[in-house]
Symmetry: C2
């Protein structure tokens, strides 16, 4: 049952230590365990959860919604249908981002082509 120091978690997750503390403060991360000196020692589970958080965050989910998701996770297995719903909505949202991005990228590329053509 390995534990991780803050520095290791920073290394592994890409979150800054300030962000980790912030996430704990707002309850996105449940109270992390401490050693005798009061320093954080993250569990394997924490790391896993942070991976999920990172994925949701990097796909543009606002913190408020991640908090809702965190609450569902904590509330137990009976919330799984709600979690599916939340993730599916987010997936739709990501799908929209993707479509939008592809379209816009085309516009940018056309613009570049145009610029090239007038050189």
């Amino acid at each position: 049952m390995s534990v991780y120091t803050p520095a290791e978690v920073v290394e592994e997750t890409g979150f800054s230590i300030d962000t980790l503390r912030y996430y704990e403060k707002i309850g996105l991360l449940e109270r992390v365990g401490r050693n005798a000196a009061g320093q954080r020692r993250f569990s394997q589970e924490d790391i896993g959860w942070l991976g999920t958080i990172k994925c949701l965050r990097d796909t543009g989910m606002p913190i408020a919604q991640m908090l809702r998701f965190a609450e569902l996770v904590r509330a137990g297995d009976h919330t799984i249908p709600d979690r599916i719903k939340l993730l599916e909505e987010h997936d739709q949202q990501v799908q929209g981002q993707l479509q939008n991005l592809v379209e816009r990228q085309q516009y940018i590329r056309n613009k570049i082509s145009y610029y090239r053509s007038v050189l």
Copy 2:
């Protein structure tokens, strides 16, 4: 040579009137023409530029960089190579976003599948 009222531009571009004023204030939009009463009357060119702005903004370009681009455009045709460079860098950046999004989406979908499997 048609002109557009603020309300029409809001309608056409999707920017709010406050955002339009803000963009003009910071110089992202060149001083827009006014009628006798001092009200804005946007030109066809303004609309075109706003389309470009919208595309760049919606693909995540920060305002500071859009400002640099605006300056290049204003500086004349000799900056076209620089504009190409800027847009290509941005295109790369968009490409990165896309790849990232696709990967993360897979993770989310796997998570959904997992949740479905435990129901």
